[in-house]
């Protein structure tokens, strides 16, 4: 019993340790890594990953998975761009409408998973492919140009020296933390991953909560898609390809159990930075895209291995 109470902080320290080692390593082997410019650059690069990871955390906590996040990012990218250019909508309504589209995708995912009972992996795999195709259809496979300049602020702006997306990411993390830890829905989400039937017998409509997490995940991925759109100021249909891989890696690295029910957003934030630093460092080291994929795959495998080993030790 005593060991168990010690286990959790050790796990958190382990993530922090990995982060420090990575920072130390890249600071030594590259010159430009530990400069204010690059640190802020990394933060801005990971902001979309971070925002989406908050939603993914909610899903994985209920023991689900959402691999459609990358395609949601892609379709919001194009939908947002088309609304602002082809349909000439002002920025704010266009952005809101894009987010509604994203949330609607999540609603469909959630209904299939919780009410119809299709496994989350299959539902979101189908959605991932379907949305990507739809994205290409919507824009004829071509980039969408001509976005209003004022839209750049979302992805490229600064408050002081802090990039706007970084501020948004931290706000989402704070809201996410409060939501998961201080609201009843948040506590239901934690309960669902541990023990679905016990939550239902406590008098909670579990299917609604389960649907809700997919809406949250899609909504936040949609927000990430909008930020991406603003950063490159062009609608690109291939945006977000393989993004789900980074998001899931970050969440699992952050110590969220794939079986659900355990993990915290503080860990996830660290996981996000580890994933981001790894990508950034590999680019600085000029490692080829091919090798980067191999390394990323290994990192995810390693992270879930630790998760599974920890679980086996407990039982």
């Amino acid at each position: 019993m005593k060991i168990k109470t010690l286990e959790i902080p050790i796990k958190k320290f382990a993530i922090l340790g990995v982060l420090c080692i990575l920072i130390a390593f890249f600071s030594i082997v590259t010159e430009s890594f530990l400069t204010t410019g690059n640190v802020l650059n990394i933060a801005r690069q990971v902001s979309m990953l971070g925002i989406s990871a908050v939603g993914m955390t909610c899903v994985i906590l209920t023991s689900g998975i959402d691999i459609s996040v990358g395609s949601v990012m892609g379709i919001t990218n194009i939908v947002g761009a088309l609304l602002m250019t082809k349909y000439g909508m002002p920025i704010l309504p266009a952005a809101l409408m894009t987010l509604v589209v994203a949330a609607a995708v999540g609603l469909v995912n959630g209904v299939f998973v919780s009410y119809i009972g299709v496994p989350a992996l299959i539902t979101t795999l189908a959605m991932m492919t379907l949305l990507r195709g739809l994205t290409y259809v919507l824009c004829d496979g071509l980039p969408v140009w001509g976005l209003p300049d004022s839209f750049r602020f979302l992805g490229q702006g600064y408050v002081g020296i802090i990039p706007v997306p970084v501020i948004i990411m931290f706000i989402i993390f704070i809201i996410g933390w409060v939501f998961l830890n201080r609201t009843k829905i948040g506590r239901y989400i934690y309960g669902l991953g541990g023990n679905r039937e016990a939550v239902r017998l406590a008098g909670i409509r579990t299917k609604r909560v389960e649907t809700g997490v997919f809406v949250i995940s899609s909504f936040l991925s949609g927000l990430a898609g909008l930020i991406m759109l603003s950063r490159i100021n062009t609608g690109q249909p291939k945006i977000g390809t393989a993004f789900e891989m980074d998001v899931i890696t970050a969440v699992v690295l952050g110590g969220v159990s794939v079986a659900g029910g355990a993990g915290s957003l503080i860990g996830v934030l660290l996981g996000v930075f580890i994933t981001g630093i790894l990508s950034n460092g590999m680019i600085l080291l000029d490692i080829s895209e091919y090798y980067q994929q191999i390394i990323k795959g290994l990192v995810l495998l390693l992270a879930v291995t630790f998760d599974s080993l920890a679980k086996r030790k407990k039982s």
């Binding site: 168990k4 934690y190 309960g191 039937e197 008098g203």
Partner: protein, 497 residues
């Protein structure tokens, strides 16, 4: 009677689990080609004994001889393939998508030129089934068969594996009356082939119809083995339950008042048929019966956890449709489930959160849970129910079983529940904590709460209930007042006698 040859002999079998002796020096011999019935109450040690024989668990002490040879530390696989001991459980280990023949020969396929020899397998399967008195097409997928025929395939599979001893655990439970006849014929065929059958059943009528000898287990001990023809049902029941009522129960206070819950003609698709009863304020209504009698199902149906196909539920005289546990909680009904770890507590959450889990809305402001309010109300409950925990932030999984059970109860008390359904509330809980739970139940009744107590422990049922309803196979078979209830009467009703 001619002298019988012993097939399997178990001597001095002991199995201990933390806090209980599941098997206490059991000596038992089985003859070649006999039908040997084993009976006893829930938890008497029958299942543990069977698991020892099949090698599923290892005994702490004792000796098993099969055909005169000492065997120990064997696995179920060795038991089945090397010694010829096989068991037919209530769940079958058949693969529904494969045919009867494929299932029979699974792992021992007949090959011809490195390919499956379907023709030979089918004809052998057909012959095997015919020798057991059943004519089935061996090409049919097992999934398309009724439960009875699946059971026959399972039995055929063990005879094909040269079983000398076949153990059947409640084999008639899932069968209809006609199918039970078929099963009996099959058991007699097995006997004629010289196979020993151990037949475990709660149904005493079957034991008398079928078995040559009968053994009674009680509280982990073998009480007696005797020829079935030399005993009677009444004697068997008496032996099964004959024990001193050792636990002392607190004194009952308070009065039974007006009806609060009326169940009328309730049925479910799976099991329950035409259940009607009334529960009063301040009453402890006990539900007795054997495992699978439908008591848990009844509690779940009332609570909206499983759908009701027919019947009505009245709460305080008003008809209510409860389709989800949430609606039950809104009607101030709380359920304390049988499986505490899987269905009761949320093991990874804190004591405080577990207590507040069904009433978060009450302690939230602007959607945010007020942590101070949550801890205050949890602390109040911790004191009132004497939950032993250093603080309310402790994860509930680190508490003892009795304290976890109190946490689940506390959840319903903070939700102001007036009807509380206790399903086996003291299972797996130590003696001291049991006493406390009993006291709490009486305290709640004295406060005017209405209580349903499902219990398989005879002492508890008799000692706690104001009234006892006994169920058997989804039906209420009788009602006993506190004054008239005895162990014999409850068991008789529970066996459907």
């Amino acid at each position: 009677m001619e002298k019988q040859e012993i097939l399997l002999s178990a001597q001095g079998i002991v199995k201990r689990y933390p806090g209980v002796v599941a098997l206490d020096h059991v000596d038992l011999d089985f003859y070649k080609g006999e039908i040997h019935a084993i009976c006893g109450e829930n938890g008497a040690g029958k299942s543990t004994f069977i698991k020892v024989l099949t090698g599923a668990i290892q005994p702490d002490a004792g000796r098993i001889e099969m055909e005169g040879i000492h065997r120990d530390n064997y696995t179920p696989h060795e038991a089945m393939f090397n010694y010829g001991i096989s068991a037919i459980y209530q769940e079958f280990y058949l693969i529904p998508a494969l045919t009867i023949a494929e299932n029979l020969f699974l792992g021992k396929e007949i090959m011809k030129n490195r390919l499956l020899d379907r023709k030979t397998m089918n004809s052998e399967a057909k012959a095997l089934l015919l020798s057991l008195g059943v004519d089935l097409d061996p090409n049919r997928p097992v999934g398309s068969l009724s439960v009875a025929y699946q059971q026959i395939v399972e039995i055929a599979k063990s005879t094909y594996q040269n079983a000398k001893l076949i153990i059947m655990d409640e084999p008639s439970a899932p069968l209809t009356i006609n199918e039970v006849d078929k099963l009996f014929n099959l058991v007699h065929t097995l006997k004629a082939k010289g196979i020993t059958v151990i037949y475990i059943s709660h149904r005493l009528t079957e034991i008398f119809e079928l078995s040559d000898r009968v053994t009674v287990f009680r509280d982990g001990k073998k009480i007696v083995t005797m020829p079935t023809s030399s005993t009677t049902k009444n004697e068997l029941i008496h032996i099964m339950v004959n024990r001193e009522l050792s636990d002392t129960f607190p004194t009952r206070k308070g009065e039974i008042a007006e009806p609060i819950l009326e169940v009328k003609n309730l049925s479910t698709a799976a099991l329950l048929q035409d259940i009607s009863f009334t529960l009063h304020k301040g009453e402890v209504l006990g539900f007795g019966g054997l495992v699978g009698a439908g008591r848990t199902e009844l509690a779940r149906a009332i609570y909206g956890a499983d759908p009701i196909t027919e019947g009505t539920i009245l709460i305080k005289g008003k008809e209510m449709r409860i389709r989800h546990p949430k609606e039950a909680v809104a009607q101030r009904i709380g359920l304390i489930p049988e499986d505490r770890k899987q269905h009761g507590i949320l093991s990874r959450l804190s004591v405080g959160e577990n207590i507040a889990y069904s009433s978060f809305s009450k302690i939230s402001r602007f959607c945010l849970i007020q942590m101070s309010l949550m801890n205050q109300s949890a602390l109040k409950m911790v004191k009132m129910l004497r939950i032993i925990t250093p603080n309310t932030h402790k994860r509930v999984q680190e508490l003892s079983g009795g304290n976890q059970q109190k946490v689940v109860l506390a959840r319903w008390l903070v939700s102001d529940c007036e009807i509380i359904l206790f399903d086996e509330p003291t299972r797996g809980i130590d003696v001291g904590a049991k006493q406390e739970i009993y006291e709490l139940i009486f305290e709640l009744a004295a406060q005017g709460k209405a209580i349903i107590l499902i219990s398989s422990e005879m002492n508890e049922l008799l000692g706690m209930s104001d009234r006892i309803l006994v169920m058997h196979e989804g039906v209420i078979t009788g009602e006993l007042s506190r004054a008239e209830a005895t162990q014999d009467k409850v068991l008789r009703l529970a066996s459907g006698e």
